[in-house]
């Protein structure tokens, strides 16, 4: 089992960050790797169990299912169902926490997955950099410009 944990501080209040992240169908609006997003069967994007279908910028497609979503704890988790890359048993968690002595947000994005032997480092680096850290930067830019 490979584990990836990335985190950052966003210089905006947690309400602003959560407003962007909580829409499970809105990640194409800010994440640079994602071209389009749609929820299957026209379900609401905050219905636990709904499946989102991504088209990636590189043409690949993947499907992910929402497992948990909490407006109280400002977190959600999801798993990969179909993916063009060898990420198996992939479950990810996005957690936001307020920094109470500044109008900032601590954002942690982490996952566990399996992958063929020998590809652990490559997959961990791809997930950390291309998905999580690229997502941090995209949200930082979006909130700074908004």
């Amino acid at each position: 089992m490979v584990q990836v944990v990335c985190s950052t501080i966003i210089e905006k209040p947690i309400e602003d960050v959560w407003a962007l992240l909580r829409d499970f169908n809105g990640h194409d609006q800010w994440h640079p790797a994602i071209a389009t997003s749609a929820i299957e069967r026209s379900l609401p994007s905050d219905l636990v169990g709904c499946v989102r279908r991504f088209k990636l910028q590189d043409g690949g497609e993947l499907r992910e299912q929402l497992l948990t979503l909490s407006d109280v704890e400002q977190c959600f988790s999801y798993c990969l169902l179909d993916t063009p890359v060898p990420l198996f048993n992939y479950v990810a968690h996005v957690n936001l926490y307020p920094v109470t002595d500044g109008d900032q947000t601590f954002w942690q994005w982490k996952s566990r997955f399996t992958t063929p032997q020998g590809r652990e480092d490559e997959m961990a680096k791809m997930v950390a950099q291309d998905i999580y850290e690229a997502g941090f930067e995209a949200i930082r830019t979006q909130l700074a410009n908004g």
């Binding site: 926490y97 920094v99 109470t100 601590f106």
Partner: protein, 145 residues
């Protein structure tokens, strides 16, 4: 049930922050409101169940019991057995989490307790400001920011 939650960002790696706070007997070393502390019955300060007995700068005495600690997740929890404040069933947790995109740490200090509703705002504010934020401010000064 009253709740207090205070969090901050310290400009030091999580392992350095954890090293400074993990000793349950070390409050006088890093928290400006604590004058002296000892562990009762000479137990090791990381033995779950040990009791710290410490004096505030005000002269008041507080006894707190360590109820949980993890060097893997960088947190400890404790309950208050005796103290000058009109509250009971007090349980608090101090947690340090790495910020992976810089040499910083996210620190959280939270508590839950019971009290007379008439005192709740004052107690929540007192614990949150004087104890928790006061401790974070001292850590931030120590680590430079």
């Amino acid at each position: 049930m009253a709740r207090v939650y205070v969090s901050s960002v310290v400009s030091a790696p999580a392992d350095k922050v954890w090293e400074r706070v993990r000793d349950f007997n070390a409050l006088p070393k890093w928290h400006p409101r604590i004058r002296e502390s000892r562990i009762e019955e000479a137990h090791p300060s990381d033995k779950i169940g040990c009791i710290r007995n410490f004096q505030l700068q005000s002269g008041d005495t507080i006894r707190e019991q360590l109820v949980g600690m993890s060097d893997h997740e960088y947190f400890f929890s404790y309950s208050m057995l005796e103290g000058p404040m009109p509250l009971w069933d007090y349980i608090a947790t101090f947690r340090v989490t790495p910020v992976t995109d810089g040499d910083r740490a996210f620190v959280e200090w939270s508590a839950e307790f019971e009290c007379d509703p008439a005192n709740e705002d004052e107690l929540v504010n007192g614990v949150g400001t004087n104890v928790f934020q006061g401790g974070f401010d001292a850590l931030k000064r120590h680590f430079g920011g």
